[in-house]
Symmetry: C3
């Protein structure tokens, strides 16, 4: 006869019911887009654009078709000059005439608190205040992670600078 401690089952049911986030992280990342003149400060660049657009100005029609590659500092607060705890690296693709994007990127964390990567994928309706994308995998401290990240635009300055607040909740980890 096998005996299961009730708390094990309780955790298991919480796990199945989706009410239990094993890790919660709140981080900011800062993006400065290359505009032809700011090569020293830029953390991202347009690398592909449709036929009617170019690589130094975001396209008209909600930027549809622009592909931007980024290497942004991840910071614990909203100050661009604080020490980064890692880098957010990947791309965003503007894929709707009213400012939706598809995101595919990884947080590479490298601090005393966290070592490892978290990979994100999903739709980002930029004009919505809080929007969810999926955490599809992780390595290191985040081995086999899955979860949801809620993205909020914390600041926008013209078309060149924006800052995102990311709330990560991991519901599966090992």
């Amino acid at each position: 006869m096998v005996k299961l401690h009730p708390s094990v089952l309780f955790l298991f049911f919480l796990y199945l019911s989706g009410t239990f986030a094993m890790h919660a992280l709140a981080l900011y990342f800062h993006n400065i887009i290359y505009n032809g003149k700011n090569a020293e400060n830029a953390t991202s660049a347009i690398v592909a654009a449709p036929e009617w657009a170019n690589l130094t100005t975001l396209a008209g029609q909600g930027r549809f078709g622009d592909v931007v590659v980024f290497d942004d500092p991840i910071i614990l607060d909203n100050n661009l000059h604080s020490t980064p705890v890692g880098r957010a690296q990947g791309m965003y693709i503007y894929d709707k005439k009213d400012l939706y994007a598809y995101l595919a990127f990884t947080f590479v964390l490298n601090s005393t608190d966290h070592q490892g990567t978290i990979t994100f994928n999903g739709a980002d309706p930029i004009v919505v205040k809080a929007r969810d994308i999926s955490v599809v995998g992780g390595t290191g401290d985040f081995f086999m992670a899955r979860g949801i990240a809620t993205i909020m635009t914390d600041s926008i300055e013209g078309v060149v600078y924006f800052r995102l607040h990311v709330d990560i909740k991991l519901y599966e980890c090992w």
Copy 2:
């Protein structure tokens, strides 16, 4: 002593055995590619191409290297003029000399039946009748979803228009 109701275990074993799809959806999406002249109707555009190609004509050699960003209507039937229930947004990358593609996109559903996103990733051997790609995550009604989507080409008209039938089976959800 812990008591488990047999039906709980039965569901759990079905879950582990992979024979139980929690949600099944069948949808169509319609893609019209920009060819330099159809800006008003186009739902997608070539945004990157190898050195030997351009942004208004799909490349030779199985279109290898073309990256297409799309924002396609999702419809419950195969009629382009029915009311959409959402948008399929993301990109496809032609990555083989005989018409394979890599897909990374999200279904953004917004109807009375479904609110939320489903994110897809995987290889699409276009010339195969029914081919499977992975559902790697979801949000909203599809919180934490995983599964398989079977894609079938329902119609092709020249190089500019195609319609895909997508059968989505979610084997994990919360």
Copy 3:
């Protein structure tokens, strides 16, 4: 009263504890990048680049912003001329000033041993000897797979050729 065979629970705990890889595969893939002159041998091509770069030479500054689409043979040993067991197809994006890349690709396996696809996503710090990326999904023999792939650079010849050794461990499959 429900009776569980102890070995079932034991497997289940191994599964939860993450010490049990259900499948382990070791494969090589070979990449030859198009440089304007090697169209016949090339297995990949730069398809997007930032404003300061072009499509036949990897960009300066750690190649930041280059997007490369590939269709590489997968081979069981490190000999480019052995019979492939499948293709590695997708893209890598150089997204850091010191040679990080974001990878999104699928192994399409088609041999007597394996039929199916495995989809990968994640950050690849190219200069690190062994680095982990996430397996986010699979189809066919790899239905619903998740796991970790450890990538090691097995050989580099100039900027045009490299060979990767990939150790795949699947911790979830059905």
